[in-house]
């Protein structure tokens, strides 16, 4: 999957976000920041900041592990803070997350099920040695937007009747955004709301074993990033 497809998914995710406070996961979600409306969406990072600003100029900023005190949730990537930023400890940071105060999170996904289950942190058969803040994010955010490529690198579907990878949380996904389509969960049912014009509904269904219905407000869109067509 080329960079352009990631950018398309990120841009499409950003369309879901018009105001409020959002936490962006790692991977594709990180790219979403570039497409957000300036000043209207504030970014939270679980290591203890509300009001994440752009990265400092790498030519001017040298990371000294001894003195650096402002990074994102990677723990090592320097960031800046916006004028309305605040800092807090992990307890308050997860009060924001688990307590239901985030308007949305965009999170990378390995699999999503037709009931809104999310698998994003572990692969079957491998030792489970890291989960980070993903479970708290997904359990708490008012909206969970899963950002993922429609198929695995081996061509296997990721949007399934049931996840067979370890779950991050059950029934929490609100929106699925891939390079081909957008699905929304409404009253516990999964609906296709948007598809790119390069596919037919039958072709999409073939790549998407989950049960879903076509929404009343379904539409077909052109896949563009910054006015340019996307190469698949």
């Amino acid at each position: 999957m080329g960079v352009d497809i990631k950018q398309y998914i990120a841009k499409r995710c950003a369309q879901e976000l018009t105001s409020g406070v959002v936490n962006l996961g790692i991977g594709i979600p990180t790219l979403v920041a570039d497409y957000l409306p300036k000043g209207k969406v504030t970014l939270h990072s679980e290591n203890g900041i509300l009001g994440v600003g752009p990265e400092p100029d790498p030519n001017e900023f040298v990371v000294d592990p001894e003195t650096i005190d402002l990074v994102n949730a990677s723990g090592v990537q320097p960031i800046t803070a916006l004028p309305h930023a605040s800092y807090f400890d992990s307890s308050l940071s997860f009060t924001i997350m688990r307590g239901g105060h985030l308007d949305a999170t965009v999170i990378g996904a390995l699999q999503v099920s037709e009931t809104g289950d999310l698998a994003s942190w572990a692969v079957p058969g491998k030792a489970v040695l890291g989960v980070g803040g993903a479970m708290d994010l997904v359990i708490g955010a008012k909206r969970v937007i899963a950002a993922l490529s429609h198929l695995s690198p081996k061509g296997e579907p990721k949007i399934l009747p049931e996840c067979n990878y370890p779950l991050t949380a059950k029934n929490r996904v609100d929106t699925i955004v891939t390079e081909y389509a957008v699905f929304k969960f409404r009253e516990g049912r999964m609906y296709l709301v948007e598809m790119v014009d390069e596919l037919t509904l039958e072709q999409l269904k073939e790549m998407t074993p989950a049960h879903y219905e076509v929404a009343e407000d379904f539409k077909v869109v052109k896949r563009e990033v910054e006015g340019e067509a996307v190469l698949v």
Partner: protein, 229 residues
């Protein structure tokens, strides 16, 4: 990555006067009220709450009510259904209303009260505490021996509304507290669907030290400046 200048920043926090802010409270609401004695008590919001006489069947969640309180009128006017807190012995109006069976009181140890609010705001609905084990305040509650000691299962608290007080707000809605006027206010801000804050002063975005902010704007809905009543 997203950038923004001070002018572009929109957090959705509203700046209203006390009466307009109190107008947002729904009928029969549960209302957390900040303050420990005088400091941190939202006096002007309390007065506005008393003025909005059609609001009744209210539940008040507040630590204590002293002998003289702006909120006493609510008891005289039979507008309070229930009170949850830790110390009401010295408030004559409330004691009378209780004795006449007009008000229900849920008494909690102060530490249980404050932690129940903090955890309510943090999405944690119940916790085991050693406080009150073996006392009348644990009667009817589930208990469990943990680490060889008896603990009581307490339910966390959330509310429809919090009316609180802070020292300063910036125009994004971030709050700074002062001295012993913090008390229950920062926790209450996190635990209500609608948080209304009374402040001494409103400053420009960027004027507050980001390390000094006690309540980030995400927990704030409406800011009321004290003199604008």
């Amino acid at each position: 990555m997203m950038n923004g200048t001070i002018d572009q920043i929109q957090t959705g926090v509203e700046f209203l006067n006390a009466d307009k802010a109190i107008q947002r409270i729904p009928e029969g609401a549960s209302i957390m009220v900040g303050g420990f004695g005088f400091p941190g008590m939202p006096r002007h919001l309390s007065k506005a709450l008393v003025r909005r006489t059609e609001l009744d069947q209210l539940t008040l969640i507040m630590n204590s009510l002293g002998s003289v309180s702006t909120l006493n009128a609510l008891f005289e006017q039979n507008r309070i259904k229930k009170v949850i807190g830790s110390f009401f012995s010295t408030n004559k109006e409330l004691v009378v209303a209780y004795q006449e069976g007009k008000v229900e009181i849920d008494l909690l140890p102060q530490g249980t009260f404050t932690e129940a609010i903090r955890l309510g705001g943090a999405g944690i609905p119940a916790f085991f505490t050693p406080t009150a084990a073996g006392t009348v305040l644990a009667e009817g509650k589930e208990t469990r021996i943990i680490n060889g000691r008896e603990h009581v299962l307490e339910q966390s608290l959330t509310a429809d509304v919090a009316i609180i007080r802070a020292h300063k707000a910036d125009k994004a809605g971030n709050l700074v507290y002062k001295k012993t006027a913090q008390n229950f206010n920062p926790a209450m801000a996190t635990a209500a669907k609608l948080t209304i804050v009374e402040v001494d002063e409103i400053v420009e975005v960027g004027e507050l030290d980001p390390d000094s902010i006690g309540t980030p704007f995400i927990f704030v809905d409406i800011v009321v400046k004290r003199e604008e009543v």
